[in-house]
Symmetry: C2
Subunit: 211 residues, 2 copies
DNA sequence: GTGTCTACTGACATGATGTCAATAAAGACG
DNA sequence: CGTCTTTATTGACATCATGTCAGTAGACAC
């Protein structure tokens, strides 16, 4: 055994931070968040464990930073349906289906990281705040707004409670996609993604726009 | 402060075990699982921390035992719809609605404990096994079977993938109800439960049996 | 070559966990 | 009642991840 910790090397702070984030991502594609120890991440960077604390407060802070960027993508792929006008039924159906395919792709790409965030959210109040309030609730709000518009426009049945329906559908999508793509070290095939996105599509479409 | 730990008292093993389970339940109605430390539970029983290990392996074993019984209830309230024959549409709709109301009631009663199990499942492989494989997956299987029957009977559209649809709907129900009733120290009103069960009903019914 | 700045680390303190040998209640038996 | 046996219970210990901090040693400036 000779990979002690290597000779002391000095990096730019920003470079070290990126190295830690990359090491964490790599770790999470192999093993679940519950096994992610700070030392386990730092050995992959060649830095010592205490160096971690120069860049992050704790491992919850670390996964929070991993979420940056991904959150934006999740909104971006839904954008067309979320902000679209309630013009026609066909257009709405098509935009929603595209949004769900986009979200599925995103989960397929970032699954293990998103899974880690979701796991961390149940263990740390700060992560819970960022993930639930800052991501899930914002999605719920946006979806609820779109549902409200569709109900008013007569595209969707008026016995729907927009807020509650939005919350149920968003939570379903989150958990179901984490279930499908969140496991570490599991790559997903083209078909798998199609099947998964298809199942979500049917439920969303039937609920909001009928058969 | 004089409630040191009290004079040494001896209980029947079974009695002590019940006391620990009760203390854990009490704890979880006040504070989340992430704050549940073994000592924090044991002070409520008047026993010392090491005594805990005579009855449970660790806190994950403890929450697993809290799940016993509740799991059965979750199947019992669904029973009529789950095992029912695919006779008529109205009967199916009514049975499904009743099942969802029953599940909502159960979550309203045992919310904090179920939330604790769900949280623990992301932190411990054993709990994950019991909760996901032993409860969620079994529900998914039963629901998928019912959906298959309904599709064959022509009650539900045949473009549904029974397995995937069942998984998405069950996960939705789980997370949405945990969201509504899982928070410690939050009692739920009659209306709240009605609103919540109503939102779920609409989604399940529209998806499986149309408008 | 000398000095300054600061990235980095070794060593320490803390807090929760799980174990074990030793202790002392409670009931059995005389 | 006294004594014995059983075993529920505990104090003390070992472990492990965490977070902190004073001190060390790269890198760049001059």
């Amino acid at each position: 055994m000779s990979s002690g910790r290597g000779p002391r090397r000095r990096r730019r702070p920003e470079e070290a931070e990126r190295a830690i984030l990359a090491a964490a991502r790599a770790f999470l594609t192999e093993r679940p968040f519950r096994e992610m120890t700070i030392d386990g991440v730092m050995v992959r960077t060649g830095l010592s464990r205490p160096a971690f604390y120069a860049y992050f407060r704790d491992r919850y802070d670390l996964v929070t930073r991993l979420l940056e960027g991904i959150g934006g993508v999740l909104f971006a792929v839904d954008r067309r349906w979320l902000i679209g006008a309630s013009d026609g039924l066909e257009e709405a159906r098509e935009a929603l289906a595209a949004a769900l395919r986009g979200v599925s792709e995103t989960f397929a790409s970032y699954g293990p990281v998103l899974r880690a965030i979701a796991d961390a959210a149940s263990q740390d109040p700060q992560v819970e705040e960022v993930y639930r309030r800052g991501l899930i609730e914002r999605l719920v709000g946006a979806v609820a707004a779109r549902i409200s518009r569709d109900v008013r426009a007569g595209l969707s049945p008026d016995d729907l409670d927009p807020e509650q329906t939005a919350r149920a559908l968003v939570l379903m999508t989150e958990r179901y996609l984490l279930d499908a793509f969140g496991a570490p070290s599991s790559r997903s095939s083209e078909d798998e993604r199609a099947v998964v996105a298809g199942a979500l599509e049917k439920i969303w479409l039937r609920t909001l726009y009928g058969p």
